[in-house]
C-alpha cells in the first residue's frame, strides 16, 4: 500500500508535466486548427536555452527567466509569424501543408541542437531538489509533490484566466467560433497569438521540470511529443481538462506498469491506451465529438 502510494504520486507528478505539453497541443489545435507535431521539440528546446544561459554565467533562476522569455519569443511568436501564418495563407487555412511544416520544424530543431550542442545527454540542474517526506508510512519525494503542485497550479491559473477574464473569454470565442468573434470586433489575430505564447510557456515549464529526469538531449522531443499527443487524444483533444486527465493517466499507468509488471513494456503503454481509446471512445475520455458541417 505504501509502495502503491509512492508509485501513484510519482506517476501523477510525471503525468502532470506531460499534461502541460498536452494542454498546449489542444490550445494550438483550437486556435489554429493545426496539430503541432513539433510540440515534443518545443519541450526539448527550452532546457538547452537554460544551459546556454548558465554557460554564459547566469545563475539558475535568471537562466530560467531568460530561457522562458527566449522560448516564448521563438516557439510562440516566431513560430506563428514565420511558419503558421505563411502556411495558412496558402488556401484552406493551412491544412495538411501546415502539419507537414510542423514535422519539418521538429526535424530542424532536433538536428540543430544535435549539430550545435552535441548528441550527448547533458546534465541538467533540477528545479527542486528536496529530500523525502514520510506520509503515513509512505516515503514520498518532495520533488514529485512540488512538480505536481507547480503543474496543477499553472493549469488552474490558466483555466481561471480563460474563464474569468474578458481576454480569456475572447480567446475562447476565437477558438470556438472565429467568424463570430470577428464580427463582434474581437482582435482574433491577437487572441491566436496569445494562445501560441501560452503554448510556448507551457512547453517551457514542462521542459524545466522534466529535463532533470531525462537529462538534456536533442532527441527528448520524440518521446515527449508522442506522449503529449497521446495524452491529448486520450483526454479528448479539444479540452484542457481532457488533456490534463490524459497526461495524469499516462503518467500513472506508466509508473504502475514499470513497478508491478515490467519496465520493458512501459513505452508500449501509451500506445496501447491510444489504440483502446480510438477503438472504444474516439471522442476521448472527456471530449465531445466536434460537429463539422460543410
Amino acid at each position: 500500500m505504501e509502495q502503491f502510494l509512492q508509485v501513484l504520486l510519482s506517476g501523477l507528478a510525471t503525468g502532470s508535466i506531460y499534461a502541460l505539453a498536452a494542454i498546449g497541443f489542444t490550445l494550438v489545435w483550437q486556435a489554429a486548427q493545426t496539430v503541432n507535431f513539433a510540440q515534443g521539440e518545443f519541450v526539448m528546446l527550452p532546457a538547452f536555452f537554460v544551459l546556454i544561459a548558465m554557460n554564459s554565467g547566469l545563475p539558475l533562476p535568471l537562466a530560467l527567466i531568460v530561457a522562458l522569455a527566449v522560448s516564448v519569443f521563438v516557439l510562440g511568436f516566431l513560430f506563428k509569424k514565420a511558419i503558421v501564418e505563411p502556411m495558412q495563407k496558402h488556401g484552406n487555412g493551412g491544412g495538411l501543408s501546415l502539419i507537414i511544416a510542423t514535422m519539418a520544424l521538429a526535424i530542424f530543431l532536433k538536428e540543430s541542437v544535435k549539430e550545435f550542442y552535441g548528441a550527448e545527454a547533458q546534465p541538467y540542474p533540477p528545479l527542486i531538489s528536496g529530500g523525502t517526506w514520510n506520509i503515513g508510512g509512505a516515503i514520498v519525494s518532495v520533488t514529485d509533490i512540488a512538480h505536481l503542485a507547480i503543474s496543477l497550479g499553472v493549469v488552474v491559473g490558466l483555466t481561471l484566466f480563460l474563464n474569468r477574464t474578458r481576454t480569456g473569454r475572447a480567446m475562447q470565442a476565437t477558438a470556438q467560433n472565429p467568424a463570430v468573434a470577428e464580427i463582434l470586433g474581437v482582435d482574433t489575430n491577437r487572441m491566436v497569438l496569445y494562445t501560441f505564447l501560452i503554448n510556448a510557456a507551457l512547453a517551457s515549464l514542462a521542459s524545466f521540470l522534466i529535463t532533470p529526469v531525462y537529462l538534456a538531449k536533442f532527441s527528448n522531443g520524440e518521446y515527449l511529443g508522442l506522449i503529449a499527443f497521446i495524452a491529448a487524444i486520450v483526454g479528448g483533444f479539444n479540452q484542457i481538462r481532457g488533456a490534463l486527465a490524459g497526461g495524469l493517466l499516462i503518467g500513472v499507468l506508466d509508473n504502475i506498469t514499470a513497478t508491478y509488471i515490467t519496465a520493458e513494456y512501459r513505452a508500449a503503454i501509451p500506445l496501447v491506451l491510444l489504440i483502446g481509446i480510438i477503438l472504444f471512445r474516439p471522442q476521448g475520455l472527456l471530449g465531445t465529438s466536434e460537429g463539422r458541417t460543410v
Binding site: Q172, Q176, N177, A179, V180, A181, I183, L184, G185
Partner: protein, 240 residues
C-alpha cells in the same frame, strides 16, 4: 444614413457585386430581396468589412468607410447579425452578451447595457448562466439580436432573422426591429420570408446578379405585379 455607390466586390478574384448602389435614410427598415446568388448576404459582408471591395464607395452618415474592418464598423455604430447560428457555444448567455461589448472602453457601461437588453429579452435573464449551445434555435437567435443591440447601434445589418424561428417568434423579432426603428435605429435586412418582411418594412430593395434592380417604398414593391411574380410568389428559395 447609409449609401453605397457603384460597389464592386467579391471573394478573392471572384466578383459577386457588380455595381450595387442605394441609399437608405435614417430610422427606417429596408428589406433586401432577390433570387438565390443575387448577392444579398454579400452586400452585408461588404458593408461590414468582410469582403474584398474592388471599386465603389460605402458612405456612412456621409463619411467614407469603404474597406474598413469589422472592429472599425462597430466603432461607427454598425452591427451585423449573420444568418445561421452565431453564438459562442461553450460560453454562458451572459458572457455571449458581454462579447457584444468587447470593443467598448467603458466596461461598466457594458454591464449596464447587458441589464437593459436582458430586460428587453427576459428569456436571456432566465438562462443567463446557461451555455449558449443549450438554448433552442429561437433562443439563440434572440441572444444574437440582443447581443447586436449591446452597444446601442445606429445601423443593424440583419441577415435572415426568421430562419428556424416559429411564426410567433418571427413576429416578435419583427416587432423588436420596428421598435428599434421607432427609437431611431436604421435597419437593413435580408429575409427569406420576403412578403412578411416587406409588409413590416419602409423600403424594399431588389438585387439581381449583384446589381440593384429596384428600390422603392415597401408597399409599392409589394403591390408591383412583376415583383410579386418574380420574387414573392411560388416556391422561391431565398437563401443566399
Amino acid at each position: 444614413m447609409l449609401e453605397l455607390k457603384d460597389l464592386y466586390g467579391g471573394y478573392g478574384k471572384i466578383t459577386i457585386l457588380n455595381g450595387v448602389s442605394f441609399k437608405i435614410p435614417k430610422a427606417t427598415i429596408t428589406t433586401v430581396i432577390g433570387p438565390n446568388g443575387a448577392g444579398k448576404s454579400t452586400v452585408f459582408k461588404a458593408i461590414f468589412g468582410l469582403l474584398n471591395i474592388h471599386s465603389g464607395q460605402i458612405l456612412l452618415e456621409g463619411r467614407d468607410v469603404t474597406g474598413q474592418k469589422p472592429r472599425d464598423m462597430i466603432g461607427h455604430g454598425v452591427t451585423y447579425v449573420p444568418q445561421g447560428r452565431n453564438v459562442v457555444p461553450q460560453l454562458s448567455v451572459y458572457h455571449n452578451l458581454e462579447l457584444g461589448g468587447i470593443t467598448a472602453d467603458d466596461q461598466d457601461r457594458v454591464k449596464q447595457r447587458i441589464e437593459v437588453v436582458m430586460d428587453q429579452f427576459p428569456m436571456l435573464r432566465q438562462f443567463r448562466d446557461r451555455k449558449a449551445i443549450e438554448l433552442s434555435g429561437g433562443q439563440q437567435k434572440q441572444l444574437e439580436v440582443a447581443r447586436a443591440l449591446l452597444l446601442d447601434p445606429k445601423l443593424i445589418l440583419i441577415d435572415e432573422p426568421s430562419i428556424g424561428l416559429s411564426p410567433n417568434l418571427v413576429q416578435e423579432v419583427f416587432r423588436t426591429l420596428q421598435r428599434l426603428r421607432d427609437e431611431g435605429v436604421t435597419i437593413l435586412m435580408v429575409e427569406q420570408n420576403a412578403k412578411a418582411a416587406l409588409a413590416m418594412s419602409d423600403f424594399g430593395l431588389v438585387l439581381e446578379l449583384g446589381q440593384t434592380r429596384m428600390h422603392d417604398r415597401a408597399d409599392t414593391l409589394l403591390n408591383d405585379p412583376k415583383v410579386g411574380q418574380l420574387f414573392l410568389g411560388g416556391h422561391m428559395e431565398e437563401t443566399d
